[in-house]
Amino acid sequence: MGQIIIQGFLLSGLYALIAVGFTMIFSVGRVLNLAYGVYIMLGGYVYFVAVQMMSLPKVPSFLFAALAGVIFGLLTYQLLVKRLQSDPIAVEIATLILAVVMQAAIIVIFSPSPRSMWPLVPGVIYVYDVAVLKNILLATVVSWVVLGGLMVFVRKTHTGRAIRAVSMDPKGAVISGIDPQRINLITWGLSGALGAIAGVFFATYTQLDPGMWVFPLITAVAVVIVGGIGSIVGSLIAAHIIGFMETITTTLIAAELRGVFTMLLIIFVLVVAPKGLFGKAEL
Amino acid sequence: MTDLLEVRDLTKTFGGLSAVKNLSFCVSEGETVGLIGPNGAGKTTIFNLIMNEFRPDSGEIFFKGEAISRYPTHERVKLGIARTYQVPRPFSEMTVGENIRVGMLPDNLWKMVTEETEEALEIEIGRSVGFDDHQIAQQPSELAMGDLRRLELARTLAIQPSLLLLDEVFAGLTLGEIDQISELLVERKKYGLTYVMVSHDLRSMAPLVDRVIAVSFGEIITEGTFDEVVNNKIVQEAYLGQ
């Protein structure tokens, strides 16, 4: 029982990070980046290559993975999205195709079979008599630190405030002299970094798999739908609900049914409370 | 005269800002009303609330005696309210005629599938706002602002509303285009169209409205005839304060 509570809590932190990285692009650019899951996948694979194949030390490898995310995020925006921006549907489709391409690329480079990743920090620590993987604990700590850093960035720095301005009122922001292209670039790069960081941990939690980009995407969407748009508190709470329920489902019922609860929750929320728990607007 | 529209104690806040505060007014059938006020006074918000683009925090809206606050947008339109937008929103990939056709659609799947388009009526509506046959086949991207506004009007008139909400219908128009639209509205008024008009162009509004309501900071400052309101000291201060 204690196991479930603690595991659930830890997983939720990671999910919160994943969700925030995703919604960032939606708030600022008003487009859906379906290739977001690819950042997560990239983060995992890059770290894997660095540490397990090239035997590089862990911390630089981790940063390297984050960098890969940033670069990929920037490239996605610059080469693909920028031209199609005016048509959100086109962006959805293009980013989906990109994700499929990346999945295929990973299959070509690495083979379709899943691979396990070594935990970043091996071993177990005891919290209230419950055995907790140090790796997962690290994941949660890092997630919260990053989220905290993001909050500070968005509130205190000039660029951060510019990002908020664009997400609240794109036209007004332009009039205030903010360059939307620059902001978009920064946001996409940031989203890439967040995704990649989350990806390194996510891969250690599950497995490396060319199809692993879909699930985090769904989780991110679930968090937004359940928590509501425009509410960070809502996202955090939703991430915890989902994290807990998933832990319960996979521990007590069956591991393969991991996404089923999330899916049912999405349907339930859409039927009963389309704005989500704290949503300020209907989807 | 019966009240066509009644707005009672309407309140709407966004974040910490009161866009509309305990606002109440009525519009009678056949009346034409002007809604004026400085920027941010809440005029467009009122329209949005009437059309269900937002839900009010409190208050009620009555149309033809029915309480419509819980009705979704399309139900309100079917009852007889329609609006135009400050920035025209035509259907970009359709011709003028097709745009009007959408306004004419019945909200009934069976009818949509089985009944033919009444092209004659469509052309007539287009002509009634001043489009010639050539323009009816054009795309919105080929039209000037004045024509786009006429298209908005044509589409809304195709819905056959009892009450029309006009949001800055003169914005961005040349004097000639303004005259065209004014003529159109005057003519419709003769046929009994009721409308509420938001506009910054007070001079153009003057001959088109029976009554004027002035709002500022989400509240009504005063109501009366055009001359009464425009010459009212408080109203002038509210505008000057801008």
Binding site: R83, L84, V221, V224, G259, L283 | M51, R101, G103, L105
Partner: protein
């Protein structure tokens, strides 16, 4: 097209059969997503419902095909509506992801839930076929594809077609015109589900087997989407053109690309084509037609 079997080999005929089915699936996708703009990633899900329903009924209960196929179609419409209706109430953007979620979850669930009924990971095989042999299957698939194409074309020509197109352009404006967009979207969805159901049930009985892999798969979704988009979304002919174009493109490239890299190359081609021509092949055809008729108009006026 009717005389085709006389001219080509069985192998080529089978390619045509696949193209016919892909065309059916692409049209099914397009009538909802291409038209209303609500991009659905859940079509494999719908096809899966149809396929599994008819497979399970024939495999376990031995019911005849003329019973199981209609049941499968109805099951697809009902099942699809149950899951998709809540999603339809969201804006188009989230609809896409919710449908993707369904598909992903189905893939995992089908392997685990009641494997005795569903055949688990390996699925069910040895299913009865409607007709045997390449030639009859070709005629059957072509006929069905043609009938569906005509049926959809007639439907879209009505005022309903304009309403659905308008939703894609500006859904709020459609509501402001007094139309219940949720009901319209639902109708489009049910038509889409019905077509997907017909295609799915018939396809499974052509193949004679069904398994989670290959149905609830991103690659399958990808193929359907690209077929519709490349051909020209939002039209009836577009998806058909796209399906044939894509099928033959894939066949052409097949010998040159090793298995693993196949989807990579297809994906890159699709991405590039989509980037430069988001409106698809059909839009080029339309443009050509307008230019040509424009020319002939000019000649008339002279």
């Amino acid at each position: 097209m009717c005389l085709l079997p006389l001219v080509v080999s069985t192998g080529t005929l089978r390619i045509f059969i696949f193209a016919n089915f892909l065309a059916i699936f692409a049209m099914s996708w397009d009538i909802l997503s291409g038209r209303t703009g609500y991009i659905s990633f859940g079509h494999p899900f719908l096809i899966g419902i149809a396929g599994y329903t008819t497979a399970m009924l024939t495999y376990h209960l031995g019911w005849p095909l003329y019973t199981t196929i209609p049941i499968a179609v109805v099951a697809t419409m009902i099942g699809g509506t149950l899951f998709f209706l809540p999603a339809l109430r969201t804006r188009g953007t989230y609809f896409a992801l919710v449908t993707l979620a369904f598909m992903e979850v189905m893939y995992h669930s089908m392997q685990v839930v009641q494997p005795k009924l569903t055949g688990g990971t390996r699925g069910l095989s040895g299913l009865p076929t409607l007709v045997s042999g390449a030639i009859p299957n070709y005629y059957l698939s072509f006929l069905v594809m043609f009938a569906i194409g005509v049926g959809l074309w007639l439907l879209i020509r009505t005022r309903l077609g304009i309403a659905l197109d308008a939703i894609r352009m500006d859904e709020d404006a459609v509501r402001s015109s007094g139309l219940n967009t949720t009901r319209l979207k639902l109708f489009a969805f049910m038509v889409s589900a019905m077509v997907a159901g017909i295609g799915g049930a018939l396809y499974i009985h052509y193949l004679g087997s069904i398994a989670p892999r290959g149905i609830f798969e991103i690659n399958f979704l990808f193929t359907i989407l690209v077929a519709a988009l490349l051909g020209g979304a939002g039209s009836i002919v577009g998806p058909i053109i796209g399906a044939f174009f894509l099928t033959f493109l894939l066949e052409l490239l097949r010998p040159y690309i090793p298995g693993a890299a196949r989807y990579l190359i297809y994906g890159v081609i699709a991405l590039v084509l989509y980037y430069y021509a988001p409106k698809g092949i059909y839009s080029f055809v339309e443009l050509l037609r307008i230019r040509l008729t424009g020319l002939s108009q000019a000649k008339k006026n002279d």
